[in-house]
Subunit: 420 residues, 2 copies
C-alpha cells in the first residue's frame, strides 16, 4: 500500500513542537548539574532513569520495547506487514560529565515524536517505525565512544565491551546488568537485525548552519580521522650560555614542523581539518632550552583518498624539519570516512525543499552512531543548528522551532520509506 | 714597595694543582648526593659545614675571617699597609639541589689557593689578599639569586632578604642565625667596605671554551636579560566541526608570534640569546582547538642598547601576529648588562698571554656575584672550561689542570694589584 502524500503531510503536521520541547526539558532534569547542563554518563542510574522515562512514554502509547545484549533499546510502533523490516531512527541519551540537553537526546526524541505523530494522525504504515537508544555513545565513562552501535554492528566484540572498566574499576558488564535489571524489558533483540533504513537527527555541534542561516543540514558523511603523536627530542641547555648554532632546541624544531604542516595541510576550500591541540614542552622552564616536545596532530577529511595522501606525508615532513633533533611520529588512531546513502540524502533534501526549509549539505565533523549503521543499512543523518556551535558543554542550546523543523523532515522521510 | 716579577712568578709557581683538586674533592663530600653531585643549598647545615671546612684550612694558615650581616665570609691574609683596601677574589659554596662540584666552589678555592701560594712562597704584599664566600648565589632555596652580593652592594635591602622564606616557611633570618652560630666568627665586616679590586674565577657553564680549545676566558661582561610572559587568548572549539577560517586558535597565533620573533631576533653573529623555554597550551586536548597559550621569552645581549631596542619591539610584534586572538605581553624581569673594568680585563689578558695559555674574550651568559661588585669596584672575571658546557647538574666537571691554570692567572693578577 502506497501512502498518499496527504497521509504523510498529516503526520508531519502532527509533529508537536511544544511536546518535543517539553520532553527535552523533562530529560534535562535527570542528572541535572544545576548549571543548565546534565551529567548522565553511560550506564549510571541517571542513564537508566532517562531510558525508563522514555519507556514510560512509550507504554502510554502502546509502543513495544526490546533490548539487545549491550543495552541498546528499540521502541517499536508496529506496521501492517509482520515480515517487513523496520524504519529506524534514534541516537543516545548518555552525556559528557558536563554535557548539554540536546546532543543525542534530540535524535531519540525526534524519532519518538515521529512515532507519536503517526499515532496522533491515525496513520498506519507497512513497516514498523522504531526509535532506538544506543548505549554509551559519548565514551566518557567507558571507552570507546559509540560503544553500543559498534557492538550492534559487529565492529567491537561484545566481550571486549563488557570487560571495559571505568576509572573506579566497575565493568560495563556490572553496570549494564544493573541497568538491564531496572529497565526490565522482556523482549530481546538480536545484533545486526534487519532494518529498512537508519536515520539519525542530531544537533550540528558546529557553527556552519547558524552562521550561514540554514535550518537543516543534509549530512553527506562523517569525516575520516587520523591522530598522530609527534615526539621531538633535542638537548636541554642553559638559555644564557648556549649559542643558537650549537643548540638542539626541541621547541624550535617542533615549531618548524608545525609551520611546515600548516603549509602542507593548507586548503583554500577549508575542508581539511588540522589541529595541534596538545603541545607539551620539557622541562618547561623559562631559562632552559627545551630538550623535549610532545605534540598531537588531529587530521580530518571527508574523502578517504585525501586523508590517506595527506596523513601519509606527515612523518617524512617532520623528519625533514627535525634537523639536529630526533623525532618519532606515531599514528595513534585511524577512522575512515563514512559516506551516507545517496538515496537517503536525496529523500532528506527533497523533504527539506518541499517544507521550504533552508538547507545545505554538510559533513559531520564529529562521529555518531550512524557511522556503524552506514556499514549495514541505507543510512542518513540530518543536523539542526546549535547556538554558537557549542556542544559537549552545559551551555549547549538548540531552538525549539529548529528541533521541530528537523523532526518534520524526519517524519516525512520515515513515513515515505515505511511503505513498500 | 713594588713587587718584582720574580716574586709574582714565585707565587704563581707555588699554586698547587693537587691541593686545589683535593680541596674540591673534600667539599664534594659535604652534601654529596651519591650520584657524583651535591645538594648544598644556601644556609643549610651542609652549607655551614662547607664554610667551616674552609675556615679550618684558613686557621691552619693563620688567615683571619670576618663576616657581614648577610653571612658573607671574608678570609684575609694581611698586607703590610694597615690602611690599604684588600684585593678580593671569591665566589660561593652553595649549590643547586642537584648541583655539581665546581660551580662557585672553584671561585672560592682558587682565591684561597692564591692566599696559600703567597704564604708558601713567603711573599708579603702591601694590600691584604682576601677570599670571599658569598651567601646564597644560587637562589635555589631562597630567592633571588646572588642574594649575598646584592645585599652587600646595597642592591637588595637586608630586611627584604632576611624576611624571605623557603617553601617550608623558614626565613633567611632564622637559617642565617643558625649558620652564624655555627661559624662563630667574632670579627664583623661592614657592607660596601672598600676593595682595591674584585676578581672571580668560575667555570664557564657553557661550551665555548671547550669547543674552541681555549683554557681561559677573559670575561668582558655579563649579558643583560629581559624576560617576558606572553598570554594569547583565543576560543576553544571542536577540532572536527570548526573550519579553519572561523577558528580563534591560540596555538596557531602563538606559533605565528614565535616565528616572527625568530625573524626579528635572528643574528648571524649569534650574540643574541633568544629562548622560548616555557610554552603551555589550554585545554591541551588532542581534539580541542586551543583557547589559550602562555609562553615565555628569555632575551639576552651584552649591549644595553641592543637589548633595549630588540626587547622593546616584542609587544608590538606579538600584537601584529595575534589576528583574531588577543594577547597580553608582560615584562617580568629586566637586568641590564654589566661590563667589566677594561684595565682588569687587560691585566687578565696579559697574564694569560705571559703564561702562554690559550685565551679568548667571552661574555658571561649567566649572572654571577661579580655583577654587583662591578658597580662598586674595579672588577673582573675569568672562566675555565667545563666538560660539555654542562652545569647545574651532577655531571658537572672541570679538569684539574684547567682549574690550576685559571688559579695561576688569578694569582698573577691578584699579586700584581696587591702592591701600591
Amino acid at each position: 500500500m502506497a501512502t498518499s502524500s496527504a497521509t504523510i503531510a498529516a503526520v508531519v503536521k502532527a509533529v508537536r513542537e511544544d511536546r518535543l520541547w517539553q520532553r527535552h526539558m523533562d530529560l534535562a532534569n535527570i542528572g541535572a548539574t544545576g548549571r543548565g547542563g546534565v551529567n548522565r554518563q553511560a550506564l549510571t542510574p541517571e542513564d537508566a532513569e532517562a531510558r525508563l522515562r522514555v519507556l514510560a512514554w512509550a507504554a502510554t502509547r502502546g509502543f513495544s520495547p526490546s533490548v539487545d545484549a549491550i543495552g541498546n533499546v528499540f521502541i517499536r510502533r508496529p506496521g501492517t506487514d509482520p515480515t517487513a523490516s523496520p524504519v529506524v531512527a534514534g541516537s543516545h541519551l548518555d552525556t559528557q560529565p558536563t554535557g548539554g540537553n540536546f546532543d543525542g537526546v534530540y535524535g531519540v526524541l525526534a524519532a519518538f515524536e515521529v512515532l507519536e505523530a503517526a499515532s496522533d494522525a491515525g496513520v498506519t504504515t507497512d513497516r514498523p517505525l522504531e526509535a532506538v537508544v544506543w548505549t554509551n555513545e559519548e565514551g566518557a565513562r567507558f571507552q570507546p565512544t559509540t560503544m553500543g552501535s559498534a557492538v550492534f554492528a559487529g565492529a567491537l566484540p561484545l566481550e571486549t565491551a563488557l570487560a571495559t572498566t571505568d576509572t573506579a574499576g566497575v565493568s560495563v558488564a556490572q553496570a549494564l546488568a544493573e541497568t538491564m535489571q531496572r529497565l526490565a524489558i522482556p523482549q530481546r533483540r538480536a545484533f545486526r537485525c534487519p532494518m529498512a533504513v537508519y536515520l539519525e537527527a542530531h544537533i550540528e555541534q558546529g557553527p556552519l548552519l547558524e552562521t550561514t542561516h540554514h535550518t537543516i543540514g543534509i549530512v553527506s558523511g562523517i569525516q575520516g580521522l587520523r591522530w598522530f603523536r609527534v615526539e621531538v627530542t633535542g638537548e636541554e641547555a642553559h638559555a644564557g650560555t648556549t649559542p643558537r648554532r650549537i643548540r638542539k632546541d626541541a621547541f624550535v624544531a617542533a615549531v618548524r614542523m608545525v609551520t611546515a604542516l600548516q603549509e602542507l595541510l593548507y586548503d583554500s576550500a577549508d575542508t581539511v581539518r588540522f589541529t595541534v591541540g596538545r603541545f607539551e614542552v620539557t622541562p618547561n622552564s623559562p631559562n632552559t632550552v627545551p630538550g623535549r616536545v610532545l605534540f598531537t596532530i588531529d587530521l580530518r577529511h571527508p574523502q578517504a583518498e585525501v586523508l590517506s595522501r595527506l596523513g601519509d606525508q606527515i612523518e617524512a615532513l617532520c623528519r625533514a624539519q627535525a634537523h639536529d633533533c630526533s623525532v618519532v611520529v606515531t599514528e595513534t588512531l585511524s577512522s575512515p570516512p563514512v559516506e551516507f546513502d545517496p538515496a537517503i540524502r536525496a529523500w532528506l533534501t527533497q523533504s527539506a525543499a518541499r517544507q521550504a526549509l533552508a538547507h545545505m549539505d554538510i559533513v559531520s565533523g564529529a562521529t555518531h552512531d550512524a557511522k556503524y549503521m552506514a556499514d549495514l543499512y541505507p543510512s542518513g543523518m540530518l543536523f539542526v543548528p546549535c547556538r554558537g556551535g557549542i556542544s559537549h558543554n552545559e551551555a549547549e542550546y538548540a531552538a525549539p522551532a529548529d528541533l521541530a523543523a528537523g523532526t518534520r523532515i524526519l517524519a516525512e522521510v520515515m513515513l515515505t520509506l515505511a511503505h513498500h
